[in-house]
């Protein structure tokens, strides 16, 4: 087979607060809304992705944290109940997801071929992490496409941001190669926020937006700088600045998802679309789409 391609790549962060605010039937807690700027951003992303024909969604989530290699969900179906261990008051979600097992094994094989340590996760009792579930829900609440779910190898914590970037560059290229070999059209999602310093208290009403803002001006400036690189096609510069950004903004890019995404997209020099930006309990979150299919057709 061959001819597969990545049709879109997205930075699609996973604050469970957004699912909580939406009150979908899958989530137990109820809310009065909140975080509308980000939710409207996801509305725009969903509308954009609806125009893109695709067969599969590939997600790398910072909340499936693995220290011994990179892991890939390796059974055709996972169903269960996900409770956020940090915000259990907001996120208790019943999920039922299908895995594109062929592509999952293809990515696993390409990762091994690239010299990475990689493993298929085939324990049926495994509970899928809430980051994956949140990003999957926010991009497609009907769960209409099969997923490939990749863990976040914490090489940054073991070594450095630079080593993390090298490993995620390999994994991104391996992912791209496997997608192309599969003949499938894939949407690729990096499920991480940007600056990641939280407030340590929560309002009595969690969705009380009078309490919501970035934790510091420095965090805001870093987030805006990264977004500016994205929307002006400066992927290489963004990656060059990734070590400083990750350290100084305590950014969730430490999980490698954004580096992986940009390499899967072959370091795009075309402009990304910013669908939304907002804070969640102080952390900075951007919803960004690299419309690869438009770029390839010369319409971007």
């Amino acid at each position: 087979m061959g001819g597969g391609q990545i049709v879109a790549g997205c930075l699609a962060p996973h604050p469970p607060h957004l699912v909580y605010a939406e009150n979908p039937p899958q989530n137990e807690p109820g809310s009065e809304g909140g975080w509308e700027q980000l939710r409207w951003g996801y509305d725009r992303l969903r509308a954009s992705l609806a125009e893109v024909e695709h067969d599969v969604v590939v997600i790398l989530s910072p909340h499936w944290q693995t220290y011994v290699g990179t892991h890939v969900l390796g059974l055709p179906r996972f169903e269960g109940f996900s409770v956020d261990p940090v915000f259990p008051n907001l996120f208790r979600y019943t999920y039922d997801l299908n895995v594109d097992l062929d592509l999952a094994e293809g990515i696993h094989a390409e990762a091994l071929a690239a010299g990475l340590d990689a493993h298929m996760m085939r324990n049926p009792d495994f509970r899928v992490d809430y980051g994956t579930i949140t990003t999957a829900h926010l991009t497609d609440p009907n769960w209409s496409k099969p997923l490939v779910v990749i863990s976040s190898n914490r090489s940054r914590t073991y070594y450095s941001v630079e080593v993390m970037q090298e490993m995620m560059a390999e994994l991104g290229r391996a992912t791209k190669k496997a997608i192309e070999a599969s003949g499938k059209r894939a949407v690729v999602l990096a499920s991480n926020s940007l600056s990641h310093r939280h407030f340590t208290t929560e309002p009595e009403v969690p969705e009380d937006m009078s309490h919501e803002h970035i934790t510091s001006h420095a965090m805001h400036l870093w987030d805006m700088r990264m977004i500016d690189h994205m929307v002006n096609g400066r992927a290489k510069q963004l990656l060059d600045e990734m070590p400083e950004f990750t350290e100084q903004a305590i950014a969730e890019t430490d999980g490698g998802a954004l580096t992986w995404l940009l390499h899967a997209l072959d370091l795009p020099e075309y402009k990304a679309t910013l669908h939304g930006y907002g804070t969640v309990i102080g952390t900075g979150n951007a919803i960004v789409e690299w419309p690869a299919w438009r770029h390839k057709e010369g319409t971007a």
Partner: protein, 469 residues
């Protein structure tokens, strides 16, 4: 004494799921079983687990589901199998602990949700240390942002709740020593500590713990974290918690039951018995903290938290009492920075010929104003549990500091008048510390019950010493 036994145990699933895969895993499993037997023999009626694999952000979370049941699969070691759990949690104690934490200014909440993902460290600990749910348990998270002060006060609030409920507590710190694993899969027979440097640090930590020097390890936590810890979200905090639960002691009776590699990380089972090892306590240099002054929302620019103190501010006892004064200077006055500041215009002591007359001495700590053993009430006057023996010992220490400034020691004390705010409650504990300290010197003594003292302390001493010039 609320804490009847303390344990350090590893967090990896191998001793639970595959003890037969490696002799070291088997020895850890056997050590878990020995620890379980010791917990049962200790008479503990509550098991408190502080788990480093349960990170939290909104303060500390305390498990309050009376019967959490689930199947847990490790994120890395999913191929080892599934960990089924079915635990009995003391929900009433969890709520009491939360309330006690809030009284000490901490953010804390209980969690009681079906399907809440109990972490690997807690599941391994409770499964192996408390088979069949012999005694009820409670689990607390490790806050990502918590510093030593917050972790210490978390432990003290646990002790508050335990004392109020009359619980005998076995405490468990679920933690790795060095936590660097091999980043590629290894065969069980090839398992070893990741590096010689990690192994050497681990053995040094275990030497301290084996000697019962728990507070010393707590004081070294930041150094240990920098030396042998991968910088994960949760730093090396459990020793702060464990030491505070044991009164910051360095004279426990320690025993290392096992130390082995777990995919490269250092895993140990250690028993710390509160019985003094007879070696005498050792000094430590970080302040004690009773109430969390807080770094809460330190980055929050909102104006609705004006009372939040900066992180670097010394912890203050909730005195609600008088302002502190610099000691009055004079030709015969004896004053020292090593004693707490007076609450009025007077010196620490005054010399008249060969006699030294000390002003009333309480347990407040110089510099921080903290009260060892805890204040007797909060800023609003609500009663708090406190430790009279710790307060009395602190009084004696302060007396000794003033005498030392004058060139003397406790040996010079000839007469003491002691004041207790609650004779019925405190006389025995006060008397016990007296016997071990001034009682050995032999001054005359008068003990009076009084209604209150200027600060929220339970004991004060008026001391006269004979100190020839």
């Amino acid at each position: 004494m609320s804490v009847v036994a303390s344990f350090v145990v590893p967090v990896h699933p191998h001793p639970l799921l595959v003890p037969e895969a490696n002799e070291g895993y088997g020895r850890l499993r056997a050590a878990f079983e020995e620890a379980a037997a010791r917990i049962e023999a200790s008479g503990a009626d509550l098991l408190v687990v502080y788990s480093t694999t349960w990170p939290s952000i909104i303060g500390h979370q305390i498990q309050a589901d009376p019967n959490p049941v689930w199947n847990l699969v490790d994120h890395d070691f999913h191929d080892l199998g599934t960990m089924h759990y079915d635990f009995d949690i003391d929900a009433d104690f969890a709520h009491a602990w939360r309330d006690a934490a809030e009284r000490r200014n901490l953010t804390a909440r209980t969690v009681n949700y079906h399907g809440f993902p109990i972490d690997v460290g807690s599941v391994v600990s409770l499964s192996l240390l408390n088979p069949g749910n012999r005694i009820p348990a409670v689990i607390v998270s490790s806050n990502v942002y918590a510093n030593r002060a917050e972790t210490t006060v978390l432990a003290k609030s646990c002790l508050d709740a335990a004392k109020a409920a009359g619980k005998k507590v076995a405490v468990v710190a679920a933690m790795s020593l060095s936590n660097r694993m091999f980043t590629r899969r290894i065969e069980p027979e090839d398992d070893r500590i990741h590096s010689l440097k990690d192994d050497e640090w681990n053995r040094k930590i275990l030497q301290f713990l084996g000697d019962g020097r728990l507070e010393d390890v707590g004081q070294l936590s930041r150094t240990i974290h920098h030396q042998i810890r991968v910088q994960k979200v949760v730093a090396f905090k459990p020793m702060w918690f464990l030491s505070a639960m044991n009164g910051h002691r360095n004279d426990l009776t320690g025993e290392v039951l096992a130390y082995e590699a777990l995919h490269g990380a250092g895993g140990a089972v250690v028993h710390l018995d509160p019985t003094s090892n007879g070696q005498g306590d050792k000094e430590y240099d970080e302040e004690d903290v009773e109430v969390f002054g807080g770094d809460r929302n330190v980055l929050d620019t909102e104006t609705d938290t004006p009372d939040a103190e900066p992180l670097s501010a010394p912890a203050q006892a909730p005195t609600g009492g008088p302002a502190l004064w610099d000691p009055v200077e004079g030709e015969d006055a004896i004053n020292t920075d090593t004693a707490p500041k007076p609450v009025g215009a007077y010196p620490h002591a005054r010399r008249v010929g060969d006699m030294l007359y000390l002003s009333g001495v309480g347990p407040r700590q110089p510099g921080t104003n903290a009260i060892p053993g805890g204040p007797i009430h909060d800023a609003e006057g609500r009663p708090l549990d406190y430790d009279i023996k710790a307060q009395t010992q602190a009084v004696v220490n302060n007396v000794e500091r003033v005498l030392k400034e004058a060139g003397g020691s406790l040996e010079n004390v000839v007469d003491v008048t002691s004041f207790l705010v609650d004779m019925d409650r405190d006389f025995a504990g006060y008397n016990e510390v007296w016997a071990a300290t001034l009682g050995k010197v032999g001054p005359t003594r008068t003990t009076l019950a009084i209604r209150s003292l200027p600060t929220p302390i339970a004991v004060e001493m008026k001391v006269v010493a004979h100190l020839p010039q």
